[in-house]
Amino acid sequence: MKTLTHLERLEAESIHIIREVVAEAEKPVMLYSVGKDSAVMLHLARKAFYPSPPPFPLLHVDTTWKFKAMYELRDKMAELSGMDLLVYHNPEAAEKGINPFDHGSLHTDMWKTEGLKQALDKYGFDAAFGGARRDEEKSRAKERIFSFRTQSHGWDPKNQRPELWNLYNARKAKGESIRVFPISNWTELDIWQYIHLNDIPIVPLYFAEERPTVERDGMLVMVDDDRFPLRPGEEPVMRSVRFRTLGCYPLTGAVESTAKTLPEVIQETLLTTTSERQGRAIDKDAGGAGMEVKKQQGYF
């Protein structure tokens, strides 16, 4: 009898999780951020329900500051998967013109954390899939696959439901919700390898190309559109760069690279010694416990 490979087991586990949610939740939604983890999660959802399309919509909590290439892929994937795409903008953040240049961490709080809560409340979703992995960050290593949230979207790390075997408890009271992380047990390498093996479309920004960039506060930032306010003396320079993670373009650091194929990207990833989220400023807030605090407030 054949022994399944680790990727086959991970895939089967994730599909099982996604199906359990659809069977037990009233109104599930998949949080779709257009990054590589989202790409894998979406692909798994399509596999879980084939030949039906996944029986829930995609939700993109947008900040209006993502890379152009991300918006393009997002729309293409929604069409390809046959799923509804909901795009949500926090109206208050839009009205106040919250942006990553002038508002620092408020930008993330308003557009993403608050935006997500508002979107979930607006549509009344009781279960939301997210693409977080346990190997990404310390507090995530201890989070359940079915992570229970209070009516105000809070997470209580001390009061998590025990999760045994592959039995998930999706029961909740009205107004409460669960966040579900079907790719919890995948590592970054697994994600890349799975994308490679399954030929999953990802944003071209993951591959090296000549792009206009400026060096700012020790980070290489791509000038993706004309909203980018150049400081005196700053001049965009064409550099061969790629991105290890994708977020709002002014907050996402590029790395100089020549990796143009997936194996080259994987090679570079494995040989590099800087952990994945370092390209993003978000984890550094509030010292080592940054993400844990953000999660308790309702960040994904």
Partner: protein
């Protein structure tokens, strides 16, 4: 800093740099092993895991920088790297220096991907260890070489054995602190062998290691040359982890079983049944049986996104189609036709209690097993197990972290197999119906004969015929509220009104029932639940006979009222909440009971020293401070007859 300069031996860095395609090819074919590490902080558990991550380069440079500075600030290893800091996750845990929850860690070697469940070892964290062990292929039991087999070693071994972990590694750690002496190791192994046999552990693999210094972790250490002798495993820990058989391979050898998660029906031409194969394998053309219906058919195809499969095995998520249209839905189990699992509704099971609130014998909980969700009650335990000595103790209930053996009764037949044969069809969780918390995990031993021998007698005249003759729709008006709220008064008026309208009714009153049917019951929580259960059963029989039943009981617990609701067809149960504030009821005190309760003469009195759980969504709510009993009765009758 000896720990930082040692070169990891099994990392394939050179292959990544030289031939990435070859590396990816290798990674693609890796298998996966899930294991649990058991031991307390003092045994060096976190240090061992930290080292496994470090040696397999799962720690990045920036993390290492943070680690080095943290080690100096809060570490316990002086100027050396404190690997334990790598794996202590939540902020509160870091402050207290203890691991509270289950954390999952990942690392790779050339042959395998590993998922490590890192669990705390103290007795108050038994539930966490049980959680970690539930998915483990293997357990690493850590022993401090200076201390030998301790109470906690026995507890950890017992729990892993209980959860069915077959591969056990006895890692005798901190060998560097006993000068790598063979006698120390031999003595510990001999002690452990005697204990292991006494609790039924058939075999284990013992290894002398040092997580801190790295001895026998990735390769055999020069410090323990004697370990190469024929009486020992002679393997480094990682070598063993890379070669031991994984659970899914074992499951694949068993008969085919797949719990159905979801019915896939995109259009009229396609009907497939989706699930994760629990055991065995399936091929197109196989004869299958669907349980609990017992209907048989043949597999026409196995559908996946990547194309139809000829064959699928345990551990794969697939969608199976049949040649015949037979009844099959979520909760059904698809099995090989000639060797199906059993169905039953009464079991003996081991229960691990995981909630702060103790188990209430007789209370209805949700029981989830595979994809089946049913209502279940647990009887008073036959015994509780002392997890340190494995002694059997008498017990009335199970508290947090207690493990006991008890009878479990489900409200309908479920498809199951003993846990020892099949984790997926023998392991279950219990969920509190009020809080929705997961309160217990359980493992089914066997079904009790009684349920197999008591059958439903098929009757020719059923509830429909009874009701038709009476020309009315049967119903149960379930009054609930505090003592003195006005339940009996209003219930009596309701019956009089219905009687005048030629309806056939019967009023079951709390006090009256306690003079007869339930005179053996007192007022403890368990007795109150049994009181309500019996009244519920009687109400159900009367409703089956076509009557409109009116009951007037305090019935303070939501879970118990829900239990009665679930006995009746949808739409026939009306929860009538007589909502009278405690102050008002106490001021009335028609029977003088509140006075007695306040003076301590009467114990467990609802509202005073026993809680009342108000209905969340009652069909009818009567605020007695706003309407008279007469108005209330009219409102209830109108609602019942659909004139409201």
């Amino acid at each position: 800093m000896t720990t930082k300069t040692e070169e990891p031996v099994y990392v394939v860095d050179s292959l990544i740099a030289e031939d990435i395609d070859a590396y990816l090819e290798q990674h693609e074919h890796k298998t996966m092993l899930r294991f649990i590490t058991c031991g307390s902080v003092d045994d060096g558990k976190s240090t061992l895991i930290g080292r496994l991550l470090y040696d397999s380069k799962m720690i990045f440079e920036d993390q290492l920088d943070a680690l080095t500075s943290d080690s100096k600030k809060v570490g316990t290893q002086g100027q050396e790297i404190d690997f334990a800091l790598l794996v202590d996750g939540l902020a509160a845990e870091r402050e207290q220096g203890i691991t509270i929850d289950v954390a999952y860690r990942f690392f790779n070697t050339e042959k395998r991907k590993f998922i490590v469940a890192d669990c705390p070892g103290h007795e108050q964290y038994t539930r966490n260890m049980v959680t970690g062990a539930s998915t483990a292929d293997l357990a690493v039991i850590l022993i401090d070489a200076r201390k030998g087999v301790l109470v906690q070693t026995r507890r950890h071994s017992y729990l892993c054995h209980l959860l069915g972990v077959k591969n056990i590694v006895l890692a005798v750690n901190k060998m560097d602190l006993v000068d790598y002496k063979q006698e120390v190791f031999d003595k510990i192994v001999a002690d452990y062998t005697a204990f292991a046999q006494s609790i039924g552990i058939e075999s284990f693999t013992a290894m002398p290691i040092s997580g801190f210094k790295g001895d026998n972790i990735t390769k055999l250490s020069d410090n323990t040359p004697w370990y190469k002798g024929p009486q020992y495993a002679g393997l480094a820990l990682v070598e063993h982890l890379e070669t031991v058989e994984v659970l899914s391979s074992v499951d694949a050898e068993k008969p085919f079983r797949m719990p159905v998660q979801w019915v896939n029906r995109p259009n009229l031409d396609f009907r497939g049944f989706s699930g994760l194969i629990a055991t065995g394998g399936v091929k197109s053309g196989d004869k299958i049986r669907v349980l609990p219906s017992g209907k048989t058919s043949t597999v026409s195809k196995i559908v996946t996104f990547d194309g139809d499969l000829d064959e699928a095995v345990a551990g794969q998520s697939v969608t199976v189609c049949f040649e015949d249209e037979i009844d099959c839905s979520r909760g059904s189990v698809i099995s090989v036709a000639d060797n199906p699992p059993q169905t039953a509704d009464q079991f003996e099971a081991t229960i691990v209690w995981m909630a702060d609130e103790a188990m209430v014998p007789g209370r209805a909980y949700w029981l989830k097993l595979g994809t089946q969700m049913v209502s279940a009650t647990v009887q008073e335990p036959k015994y509780e197990v002392n997890v340190n000595t494995m002694e059997h103790l008498a017990a009335k209930t199970l508290e947090l972290n207690a493990i006991g053996v008890a009878e479990v009764t489900t409200d309908k037949q479920i498809v199951f197999e003993p846990y020892a044969e099949n984790r997926a069809l023998g392991g279950f969780i219990l969920i509190d119906k009020m809080t929705n918390a997961t309160v217990a995990a359980g493992m089914l031993h066997f079904s009790l004969r009684r349920s197999q021998n008591v059958h439903w007698q098929a009757l020719d005249i059923g509830r429909q015929q009874h009701a038709a003759l009476k020309n009315q729709t049967p119903a149960v008006l379930w009054f609930t509220g505090l003592s003195g709220s006005g339940k009996s008064t209003i219930a009596n008026l309701v019956e009089k009104k219905l009687h005048r309208m030629n309806r056939h009714t019967f009023l079951l009153d709390g006090d009256n029932v306690r003079h007869g049917l339930n005179k053996d019951l007192g007022f403890t929580e368990a007795d109150r639940i049994e009181n309500i259960r019996r009244v519920g059963e009687v109400s159900k029989l009367m409703a089956d006979a076509g009557l409109i039943v009116i009951t007037a009981f305090i019935s303070p617990f939501q879970a118990d009222r829900e239990m009665v609701r679930s006995m009746l067809p949808e739409g026939e149960f009306f929860e009538v909440f007589i909502d009278t504030p405690l102050k008002v009821a106490e001021a009335r005190d028609v029977k003088g009971l509140y006075k007695k309760a306040r003076s301590g003469e009467l114990k467990n009195f609802t509202g005073i020293d026993s809680p009342y759980e108000a209905p969340r969504n009652p069909e009818i709510r009567i605020d007695t401070t706003l309407v008279s009993p007469e108005e209330a009765a009219n409102l209830i009758v109108d609602t019942l007859l659909g004139d409201a």
